[in-house]
């Protein structure tokens, strides 16, 4: 039992941090402990990151859960751990951003930190979930926490409205997700992902019913990851929510949604006839969603004047790029073949995306903390003169999102597109071309922000007071520096992502996963070592 708890230690640490925050919030006198609380929570996230790091080294890439207690519900593999790392990083930086932002917004309540912790918990479980029920509950933990965080600025009608919109559409999407789970359950008689995969691959499932469920699941996750045409909530919610929350929402929800969607599709519907069979295939659907998302996101972003709203459309465009990563992972993977093309691009791209967005929203928080958040881009005019460091970080973030070399974003795109080309035998060359053309178009709106920050003079009549916050600067600075580091020396991170991709291929393949046995017996540990993917 102790072993089991060790295996979920990142989850436990985050949960405990959330509970401690709540208790401190209740018993501490108003306004006295909030700063400490943020550091305590950050420390918790750091500890959880450390736990993830240790587990990473303890886990062989192909290992399933090697103990009894939770093996039905969780899959502990490198893929899940890597995404947990990304999520925790996002949560950590979002927490630091909030330390002085919340007081400036007059919303300094201890519950903020608890909710960040709990939503991070939900996200982490989402990417580890091994059955659809756990996945659903984790998704609800995440979503409900985020709904509340979006409306955290109670005094702002924008914030409340964004929360309400997110809530209505989100709970509708949850219902669609449930219907999808239900149809999948109906087609296969089980809610364990692996058994669904076996039934689907073995032809035991009713295919129309399973396909119906599959489409519903894709729609529901498409909503969470903001894939067009299920993206409509994104701009309104991103704009209305407090900037520190939006930053976390943009990166965490996306990482969790993509992680869960990738695992779900590959484990449950990895069988060739569901994947890239003639007409019925999720690959086709993903390709369509990817193209619509990147085109719609980029086109709409061109017209935006508000940084947060622009980043929302940018998030939609990046969903399009990220969806391409799902096409990379090979349908059947036995050892060598899998090495040619893995889903490592997904993990690395999410990492790059997380860092850039945290930096960008951090700057948005600093600029908007004094209540001009809803103003347009003129609020950023002359930022370079007012605060060169923030302007520099914003520039790095924009260049990374744009995909300029020597930033992590460039390496992310390179990995992603390179993998896609080498996996499909050139089949998806056209998609890569579409994506590259889109990233060229995106230069317009990303660079405009940089230009406004550097070129224009600050508007004279409305001088904006920047938020002076050391933790925020640390968060933004760390994100910007890491963006550069992962752009200049990305090899280790890319290798780790490749390992993560490998483990996803391995654990999601019913045949290589190691038999999942009936309730009475303990699970069998699968300890297939992968070939060292890092070196040729």
């Amino acid at each position: 039992m102790v072993d089991d708890l060790l295996l979920i230690s990142p989850l436990l640490i985050v949960t405990v941090m959330g509970l401690v925050s709540l208790l401190v919030g209740v018993f501490a006198p108003a306004g006295s402990f909030k700063g400490w609380l943020a550091f305590l929570t950050s420390f918790g996230f750091l500890a959880a990151l450390g736990a993830c790091y240790m587990l990473w080294h303890e886990t062989s890439a192909g290992a399933a859960f090697s103990s009894q207690s939770f093996h039905y519900s969780l899959t502990l593999d490198h893929f899940g751990l890597a995404l947990c790392g990304v999520i925790l990083l996002g949560a950590l930086l979002a927490t630091l951003t909030a330390v002085h932002y919340l007081p400036a917004q007059k919303s300094d309540h201890a519950e903020y930190y608890a909710l960040i912790a709990f939503s991070a918990l939900g996200m982490m479980i989402m990417v580890m979930a091994a059955d659809l029920l756990t996945l659903f509950v984790a998704l609800e933990v995440m979503s409900i926490s985020i709904y509340i965080l979006a409306g955290f600025k109670r005094d702002s009608s924008f914030s409340t409205e964004s929360a309400m919109k997110y809530f209505i559409l989100g709970s509708f999407a949850s219902a669609i997700l449930l219907l999808g789970i239900s149809f999948t359950y109906g087609a296969t008689g089980t809610i364990s992902m692996r058994e669904i995969g076996l039934a689907v691959a073995g032809g035991d499932a009713h295919s129309e019913l399973a396909l119906f469920g599959m489409v519903m699941l894709i729609v529901a996750f498409g909503f969470k990851i903001a894939a067009a045409p299920f993206h409509m909530w994104t701009p309104d919610v991103y704009e209305g929510a407090p900037a520190s929350v939006t930053g976390f929402m943009a990166v965490g929800v996306k990482a969790a949604g993509f992680g869960a969607l990738a695992r779900l599709l590959l484990t449950c519907f990895g069988a060739p006839e569901y994947r890239d069979g003639s007409a019925v295939s999720w690959e086709t659907l993903i390709v369509i969603l990817a193209v619509i998302s990147m085109c719609a996101g980029n086109l709409m972003a061109l017209a935006q004047k508000n940084l947060k709203r622009m980043l929302a459309y940018s998030a939609i465009a990046h969903t399009g790029y990220l969806l391409m990563a799902l096409l990379v992972v090979p349908a059947s993977s036995d050892g060598e073949q899998a090495l040619n093309a893995l889903g490592g691009g997904l993990v690395f791209y999410l990492l790059a995306y997380t860092l850039a967005n945290v930096a960008a929203f951090g700057v948005a928080a600093a600029v908007g903390a004094r209540g001009v958040e809803d103003a347009g881009e003129e609020a950023y005019a002359g930022l370079a003169g007012r605060d060169p460091m923030l302007a520099f970080a914003l520039t790095i973030a924009m260049l990374s999102l744009l995909g300029i070399p020597l930033t992590a974003g460039f390496m992310g795109k390179l990995t992603l597109f390179g993998e896609l080309l080498s996996s499909g035998g050139g089949e998806y060359l056209w998609l890569v071309v579409v994506a590259v053309v889109n990233s060229v178009v995106s230069a317009y709106y990303y660079l405009r922000v940089v230009m406004v920050a550097y070129m224009q003079d600050e508007s004279a009549e409305k001088p904006i007071a920047l938020l002076k916050s050391a933790p925020l600067r640390v968060a933004v600075g760390v994100a910007a520096i890491l963006t550069l580091v992962f752009g200049i020396m990305p090899n280790k991170a890319i290798n780790a992502s490749t390992r993560a991709g490998y483990s996803l291929v391995h654990t999601s393949n019913p045949a290589t996963y190691g038999a999942r046995v009936s309730a009475a017996k303990p699970a069998i540990t699968s300890t297939v070592e992968p070939k060292d993917v890092a070196h040729r």
Partner: protein
């Protein structure tokens, strides 16, 4: 497949420790000035900004002399593995071979001079530190581009110089049109980069995971036999990339607009270094171009057409920098055409001499503009030879060089291009003659418009206002670079004396990279041919008589051009010929063949129109009008213009989700 190459690479390359420092020093300078420059004195900013580049030049000289001592191979230095996973292995690595050595010396040398010139030109500017920081950042990117051992490092530099040129054009000024010029430059460049990237991806697909230039030679050889079509596609995509960076048809439109930046920047980026990056790329991958006849043909035609077109536009421009800008486009067209006819050495030679005389011309223009308080219209200049002596002489020397007057550098390099185009065995006689003819005509135009510029600026009488004239003067710190560049513009041609002298130094120097082998044809005439491509190798014949005849022809053409300009423009102000503004040809030329308008009509406006249509139809129309307000109000709503996609109605959003879901369901199930 990696191991064989790796062993060979290890043998081929000699380790060089100083190489990374050549690249890193300017980066260091940029970082110091960028981070602390605001608080440092101008002297300190100058020290780091200029010193780092000069130091890089010194290091370059040391390394190039080491390279010269090597018996074979090249210098290389690997910093760290950038990227190594599944099929791909890419290092952050630099290499210095004979080709990059030429560019390295040109870039660091001319770069140093322009940095020194900038001390004077930018002295009174409040953004002094920012300027040097960007300029150093540019040098860093350019050096990455030149020294990159593989295509990806080159691409980093490639993107970097584009970004820096954007920064230098756009950040400098507080008004929007100039910023938009920067954006136009950047986006046009991005179109080229896009083609380059796609080409690199295709190449990667066939090269088994390497992008190292040394190893790509095998790829090119195998693709020549197995995938000739793909090879041609890659070459053409690289050509588009080069067109973006080197301002060739159809992507040249950004360069004249880029003149909005400070003049030393125009000299450095838009004349001497960045714009030649496309030529460098094609020469660097010469083994691929040589193996694809189609690609070569397209390259030659693009180059020659650009050379002629830009030269004709330059005939009627009145802004001193615009003339030089179109002249640059035209001269790079010469280089590209040289690549297209297989004259890689000629291309590199002209690239070098052009860097000298064009940098000198731009700096001279800068000196004039500086002296006249930012007056750029040559109609308001004249007689400046009395005030700006050093400028005048260096400008005159450069004009003679670019016009192709014997013994000046441009004469030798331009002549070699013409000679190569005339004698190449690469294609049949007819198309070859078109290329040759276009280049010759362009050479005539060049001589004419350059001397028109010279006479209007420095001779005749002064046509501007008196006050400015009284204050016009030169500065020493700006004169030194002018003198050095003027000397180089005059003497640079000695590196490549005509072939009949058998003293073409550059030819021998570049031989290890460009793979020329000297030999004799069956009938005894000396040949030179390129190895790559086996039976596709092409020759050009050395015939002293032909060479001398061509020289005579081009001197004649240049002389006529100069004399014509002299007759027309060396006159008092009242007798200057009136521009025939109503003539159709004048309108065509002064409107630059309406290319900007053409792009506006075919690309920019449709794109903007699509975006607006999306707003009007999808946003306002479909969602707001059709879906929410009911069809009756739709039409009235469309006029509202920029009301956008999202109308804030959460239930309309939900409807989109449901409709999307229905579409997906009916599509899949």
């Amino acid at each position: 497949m990696q191991t064989g190459n790796a062993v060979e690479s290890a043998d081929f390359f000699t380790h060089a420790e100083l190489l990374p420092w050549i690249v890193l020093l300017p980066l260091l300078g940029a970082a110091i000035n960028g981070l602390f420059g605001k608080r440092m004195s101008k002297g300190a900013v100058t020290f780091f900004g200029v010193g780092s580049v000069v130091a890089a030049f010194v290091l370059s000289c040391i390394e190039v002399s080491r390279l010269a001592e090597l018996e074979s191979g090249a210098l290389a230095s690997t910093l760290w593995t950038w990227f190594s996973s599944f099929e791909l292995h890419i290092d952050i690595a630099f290499s210095l071979d004979q080709l990059s050595a030429v560019l390295l010396l040109v870039v660091t040398g001319v770069g140093s001079l322009i940095h020194i010139f900038s001390i004077g030109y930018m002295r009174s500017d409040e953004g002094y530190w920012k300027y040097f920081s960007y300029l150093n950042l540019f040098m860093f990117s350019m050096l990455l581009l030149i020294l990159g051992k593989n295509l990806l490092v080159l691409f980093v530099g490639w993107e970097g110089v584009g970004l820096c040129s954007y920064l230098l054009i756009g950040f400098w000024f507080k008004d929007m049109p100039k910023a938009e010029a920067g954006q136009k430059a950047f986006v046009t460049n991005r179109v080229g980069d896009l083609a380059f990237l796609i080409g690199a991806f295709i190449l990667l697909f066939y090269s088994q995971g390497t992008l190292d230039f040394h190893e790509l030679k095998q790829t090119a050889a195998s693709m020549h036999t197995d995938q000739p079509v793909e090879l041609t596609i890659v070459c053409l995509l690289f050509l588009v990339g080069a067109c973006g960076k080197s301002a060739q048809i159809p992507l040249y439109v950004w360069l004249p607009d880029a003149m909005a930046g400070p003049t030393p920047v125009s000299a450095l980026i838009h004349a001497a270094t960045m714009v030649t990056a496309g030529v460098y790329l094609m020469v660097r991958t010469n083994f691929m171009f040589s193996a694809s006849e189609t690609a070569m043909t397209v390259v030659a035609i693009v180059g020659a057409a650009t050379a002629l077109m830009a030269a004709t536009i330059a005939l009627v421009q009145n802004d001193i920098k615009k003339v030089l800008a179109y002249s640059t486009v035209s001269q790079i067209g010469f280089m590209v055409a040289a690549v297209g006819v297989g004259g890689y050495v000629a291309a590199v030679f002209h690239l070098m001499t052009h860097a000298f005389f064009k940098a000198c011309l731009f700096l001279g223009a800068g000196s004039v503009i500086h002296a006249l308080h930012h007056e750029q219209d040559i109609r308001k200049m004249g007689a400046l030879k009395k005030k700006l002596k050093v400028t005048r002489w260096s400008f005159l020397i450069s004009c003679l060089a670019i016009a192709g007057i014997p013994l000046f550098s441009g004469f030798f390099s331009k002549d070699e291009i013409l000679f190569t185009a005339f004698t190449t065995s690469h294609w049949g006689a007819d198309p070859k003659m078109y290329v040759f003819g276009m280049l010759l005509l362009a050479a005539f135009c060049t001589a004419f418009y350059m001397f028109r510029l010279y006479f209007l600026t420095f001779e005749g009488e002064y046509r501007g206002d008196k006050h400015t004239w009284d204050h016009a003067h030169e500065e020493t710190v700006m004169n030194i670079p002018l003198m050095v560049l003027g000397f180089l513009a005059a003497a640079g041609g000695l590196l490549g004396l005509p072939h009949f002298t058998h003293a073409h130094f550059l030819h021998g120097w570049l031989q290890p990279v460009l793979g020329f082998v000297k030999g004799k044809a069956p009938d005894g005439t000396p040949l030179e041919f390129i190895q790559v491509g086996g039976e596709n190798a092409f020759t050009y014949v050395h015939d002293t008589n032909t060479e001398l005849m061509l020289m005579g022809l081009s001197v004649l053409v240049a002389a006529i051009g100069i004399l014509l300009a002299w007759r027309l423009y060396k006159r008092p102000a009242s007798e200057l010929p009136k521009a025939p503004v109503d003539a159709w040809w004048h309108r065509l030329l002064s409107n630059k063949y309406y290319v900007d308008e053409f792009y506006d009509a075919t690309i920019v406006r449709p794109l903007r129109g699509t975006a607006n249509l999306l707003h009007k139809v999808v946003d306002v129309g479909l969602i707001d009008g059709l879906l929410v307000k009911g069809p009756a109000k739709t039409l009235g709503k469309i006029g509202d213009g920029l009301r956008m996609f999202q109308n804030g109605d959460v239930q309309a959003y939900a409807t989109v989700v449901v409709v999307g879901m229905a579409a997906a369901l009916f599509f899949i199930v």
